[in-house]
């Protein structure tokens, strides 16, 4: 096989685009082919539930790789093309139109797809949100006096609720658990977010199951276990996402809650790596616990690390998990894994903003979570992230008081 078949990246989302950019930044000179089944240039997803819904005139989304950037860097972007198979022995990716492309090394960044509601009737008024096309379809239903029902009190659902409410729509959030943000978010933060939505006029219903859904092309009716029936113009379903592993499964690559990779993001197949929302990886900071993150920064950082390793670096992925969400004028940020903590120390920052520090049984900082208006919590969360990475055992008084966290950081002389 010729030596310049280069690197193929399947999945032209945040992670794939970032990897392609990074390969060139690292000086990789051979061919780079970025294959994506969406027809758009690689774009960022976080604005899809925020700015894109809030503002009719908003540019469709922010682009990670423009035409000019692709051309300048000689990155070949094959868009609107789905990879349907990998021939691991012949080292080829087969596209759904039958074309075969050869690779030296392959990176899978196939992302995730929304979990579908079982037994829901087919209707253009029942929507999911993952792509720019989904966001534009949803936006057309968000207007003053429209009723938007949101199924699922997770991040996507709550961000959509905040955006829709900010545009004057009537909004009802339906959550089957006893509270919103049950996964990975501590209760005081979930309470703050719930209160924020209620203050803004969103109806938040927790602990209710959906008994049935009726829908036609104009309206959706949702029957709930508390006897209520919600009648809405549109239903947006945000009940989680599933990693896109079809391609890996077809190729016989190991899958374990996502494409299973090792610390260096290598899959079980030779010369094939995976990164971003589609993969699960062992995290050295948490005793090798296998994680799959659906977070923008993880996609970005793993893309960058995969690019280094595709060109021989053999580095291990150690970044502290990090996530943010914006709702109304509030931001929530979480660094580390909240559920690894045993002890919680609270720091208040004024204007209702606060941070929770989560310590394990050795009183090591394992996570920090916070919420507040604007970017009030950002500095402390960032410093916490550094303390977590450095495995610091901070004095508890310093956490609760407003001591500058910078002073707790061990720093090179």
């Amino acid at each position: 096989m010729s030596g310049d078949t280069g690197i193929i990246i399947v999945g032209a989302g945040e992670c794939g685009a970032r990897a392609a950019l990074s390969l060139r930044e690292n000086g990789y000179r051979q061919a780079i082919t970025l294959i994506g089944d969406e027809v758009h240039l690689p774009y960022e997803r976080p604005p899809l539930s925020k700015q894109v819904l809030l503002d009719e005139a908003a540019r469709p989304a922010s682009i990670v790789l423009s035409d000019i950037m692709l051309a300048e860097r000689a990155i070949r972007h094959v868009s609107g093309a789905s990879a349907s198979a990998i021939d691991t022995l012949g080292k080829q990716v087969i596209l759904s139109n039958g074309r075969a492309l050869s690779y030296d090394k392959l990176l899978l960044t196939t992302g995730a797809t929304p979990r579908r509601l079982p037994n829901a009737p087919a209707s253009s008024r029942i929507l999911y949100l993952r792509t720019i096309d989904d966001a534009l379809a949803l936006r057309s239903h968000i207007r003053a006096n429209m009723h938007v029902a949101v199924l699922g009190g997770g991040f996507i659902g709550l961000e959509v609720a905040a955006s829709a409410r900010s545009r004057g729509a009537k909004v009802t959030v339906i959550e089957s658990q006893e509270r919103i943000l049950k996964r990975g978010v501590p209760e005081p933060i979930a309470e703050t977010i719930t209160a924020l939505h209620r203050r803004n006029g969103v109806i938040v219903k927790c602990g209710v199951a959906v008994l049935g859904i009726e829908a036609d092309e104009r309206h959706v009716g949702i029957s709930l276990s508390d006897g209520d029936k919600v009648s809405a113009d549109v239903l947006i379903v945000g009940i989680g996402a599933q990693p896109r592993t079809e391609l890996a499964v077809q190729a016989g690559i190991a899958v374990d809650n996502g494409i299973a990779v090792n610390e260096r993001l290598e899959t079980s197949a030779a010369d094939i790596y995976a990164a971003g929302d589609c993969c699960s990886f062992p995290h050295p900071l948490y005793g090798g616990r296998r994680l799959r993150l659906e977070a923008w920064r993880n996609a970005q950082d793993q893309g960058i690390l995969a690019a280094a390793n595709l060109t021989g670096a053999a580095r291990s992925y150690q970044a502290v998990p990090y996530f943010w969400s914006d709702q109304y004028d509030h931001t929530l940020q979480i660094a580390g894994l909240v559920d690894e903590g045993q002890l919680v120390v609270r720091r208040d920052l004024g204007d209702g903003a606060f941070i929770l520090f989560h310590l394990d049984d050795e009183q090591r900082l394992v996570a920090a979570s916070g919420v507040g208006p604007g970017n009030k919590i950002a500095k402390d969360i960032k410093l916490s992230e550094m303390l977590i990475a450095k495995r610091v055992i901070p004095p508890i008084e310093a956490l609760a008081a407003e001591a500058n966290l910078k002073s707790l950081l061990p720093r090179a002389a």
Binding site: R18, W296, Y322, G374
Partner: protein, 105 residues
């Protein structure tokens, strides 16, 4: 021609920190380095226009509070994804206990 504007008191900025300064419809960020030098850049991140004054300053880097894009505040150079557009920088001088920035005519 440089137009010098009184931005803040020199002791208003902690060492290795940043403050926001708004002037004539524009926003600036003013920094004090670990060795007490002062610098100024545009105040909004070139990624999604977030205030850099809410960011973290470490050594000669400011890290955006939103998505952690990094800039050298001394040169304005973009130093870390997702930012790729540099920040404009401005001249700074300290007169008495005031920090003045030069923002052009």
């Amino acid at each position: 021609m440089t137009n010098w504007v009184d931005a803040c008191a020199a002791d208003e900025i902690d060492q290795e920190d940043v403050v926001r300064f708004d002037h004539a419809g524009r926003t600036f960020a003013i920094y004090r380095s670990p060795d007490d030098e002062y610098f100024a850049t545009d105040g909004l991140c070139t990624h999604e226009k977030i205030h850099l004054a809410d960011g973290l300053v470490m050594d000669d880097i400011v890290e955006c509070p939103k998505h952690n894009g990094r800039f050298s505040y001394k040169t304005g150079e973009a130093r870390g994804a997702p930012v790729c557009i540099n920040l404009k920088t401005y001249q700074v001088k300290v007169e008495g206990d005031r920090v003045m920035i030069g923002i052009g005519a």
